[in-house]
Amino acid sequence: MTTTGFLTDSTLCIGCKACEVACKEWNDVPDDGFLWSGLSYDNTLTLGASSWRHVKFVEHQPRTGCGGNAPGHSTWQFSSDVCKHCGNAGCLEACPTGSIVRTEFGSVYVQPDVCNGCGYCVVACPFGVIDRRPDDGRAFKCTFCYDRQKAGMEPACAKACPTGSILFGDLDKLQRRGEERVEQLHAAGMDDASLYNPTDTSVGGIHAMFLIRGDSRAYNLPPKPEVPTTLLPRAWTAAGIGAAAMVIGSLAAFAMCGSGRSAKR
């Protein structure tokens, strides 16, 4: 099986949210409440247990190639966010039940029949993606349309995207395609275009890459995401020190004080 991926190109996104709707409908994802956010046209605000695609509306002053608006009117970069399906996934490492697995397509999948809702994956994801659904109790996130991929079909969001902003396919090919697209955009004068894929961190690259313009931080994409398992050696060393101190401390305290004077009042 080849490893598949997403390449989400914000320069092609028109903010129609067809991907959000397609994802909800295909995967039967429940309503997660509605709130006028006042933050541009984004009322989804964040990925979560019941939002597996989320179109970000990054507003800014007009720039070359970013919408053809009149000077003085702010314009948008749209970017459809999704679970990154990390090469080294914090959620998968943290899961104590083995519910979260790596599929034959290289994606990260939560088996809903195994998850017992312990909530540990929630604090292990460096991208703040996975969450526990309050009324259900289990953790949910993008499945990378595991069911559709198994049947040889592309994920629902990619199929519904009208502009080709969401590309689906072989991960390596998409990576190359993303790099080519960046070159193309640079040649067209859009110097701030880049491909977001943190390959040089402990996350070890992501299977859902983003082509963005400007600073990744404006998209809440962390410049240096790290998988929390890198902290384990330090954490267990500290635990070892704590345990050793407990052993030595209690043995020493009792040895020093002898056996006497312990009569119950």
């Binding site: 006028w36 956010s37 933050l39 984004d42 605000l45 964040t46 990054v58 507003e59 800014h60 943290a94 899961c95 104590p96 039940t97 083995g98 519910s99 195994v114 998850c115 017992n116 809702g117 312990c118 909530g119 540990y120 929630v122 604090v123 460096p126 703040g128 993606v129 526990r132 659904r133 109790g137 953790a139 400007g214 404006a218 998209y219 809440n220 410049p223 995401p225 929390p228 902290l231 384990l232 954490a235 267990w236 500290a238 635990a239 020190i241 704590g242 345990a243 101190a245 407990m246 209690s250 043995l251 305290a253 009792f254 020093m256 004080c257 056996s259 004077r261 312990s262 119950k264 009042r265």
Partner: protein, 315 residues
């Protein structure tokens, strides 16, 4: 909300006073609206998800920690030849703690009926998995210790070896109980926990020792090793307080917990070596401090997750 004339007046007063009204469905009033950008991330919205744990988890951290340390104290007391009632009570506290811990942990699951899935696999790389197995071992071994103890007392069966072996195993898994919770919090993406990863397991171990020895003191045991242990733990807490303050964690609950775990019991114990009442007060302070410590750390994690600046590298 039913609209009444009073409600309309209230809305008007609020609007006059603050320039905005807070009501369901209204959120855009906090003008000027934030902008996305390198300085505030995506409209300043949180990047990470806050922990979903409710009160059961920090309470479990406290109970499990005290129980674990108690199992260790039982072994130390026994090895030193201390009074056998002390050994027995320490073992009982450990077993009781395990009995309370298990339902606490289960009830916080989103799907409590699936708690056994925790023992479906063993994943050394998942502190949650290690913890579930540690608790399973601890519960079994503390139960076996107390059971063998009681049987032996009532029936004269030669079970000393059994209770001692189980007691040693309980102490070993008890060390895990007292420390793994620090690993559980530290090895996550939550900035305030991850920043204190080197300290949290030791901090929780000290807190566990303080609460176990305080509990035994409150049960009426006067072995001098108990206040000594508790003072040692309190001394570490004084140091830990400084470390936490240096890492920039500001939380009233954490400050209160630090005071109650460190300086207050330490002073009471030093000043009141001969005073029973001072010792009691010190023990109560340690217990309260230890309990609040766990709640404060979980709460600090929730606050920390809301701030996108650390994961975005903006501070």
């Amino acid at each position: 909300m039913k609209a009444t004339e009073e409600r309309l007046d209230e809305l008007r007063r609020q609007a006059e006073r603050t320039g905005r009204v807070d009501a369901k469905g209204i959120r855009a009033a906090g003008a000027p609206l934030p902008e996305p950008g390198a300085e505030h991330g995506y409209y300043g919205l949180p990047l990470l998800k806050p922990p979903v744990w409710t009160w059961e988890i920090p309470l479990y951290f406290f109970v499990g920690g005290a129980a674990g340390a108690s199992a260790m104290i039982a072994v130390a007391a026994q090895v030193s030849g201390a009074d056998e009632t002390l050994v027995r009570d320490a073992r009982r506290i450990a077993a009781l703690g395990a009995v309370i811990s298990t339902p606490l942990l289960i009830s916080d699951l989103g799907r409590p009926e699936r708690f056994l899935n925790m023992l479906r696999v063993f994943k050394p790389r998942s502190p949650m998995s290690v913890g579930a197995w540690t608790l399973a071992a601890f519960g079994t071994l503390t139960g076996a210790t107390v059971l063998a103890d009681e049987l032996q007392r009532r029936t004269d069966l030669p079970l000393t070896f059994v209770s001692n072996a189980a007691g040693a195993g309980a102490a070993l898994s008890g060390l895990g109980m007292a420390t793994y919770t620090g690993v559980l919090l530290g090895a996550t993406a939550i900035p305030v926990w991850a920043e204190n990863v080197n300290m949290l397991p030791i901090h929780f171990a000290a807190s566990a020792v303080a609460s176990a020895s305080s509990l035994l003191e409150l049960c009426g045991h006067q072995h001098r090793a108990l206040p000594l242990l508790a003072s040692g733990a309190a001394a570490y807490e004084v140091y830990a307080t400084r470390e936490v303050a240096r890492s920039g964690v500001t939380s009233t609950a954490l400050k209160a917990a630090s005071l109650l775990s460190g300086p207050i019991p330490l002073a009471l114990r030093l000043l009141g070596i001969r005073s029973k009442r001072a010792r009691r007060a010190a023990a109560l302070a340690s217990l309260a401090g230890s309990l609040i410590t766990r709640f404060a750390w979980v709460e600090a994690g929730k606050v920390s997750a809301r701030d996108p600046r650390v994961p975005l590298g903006l501070m």
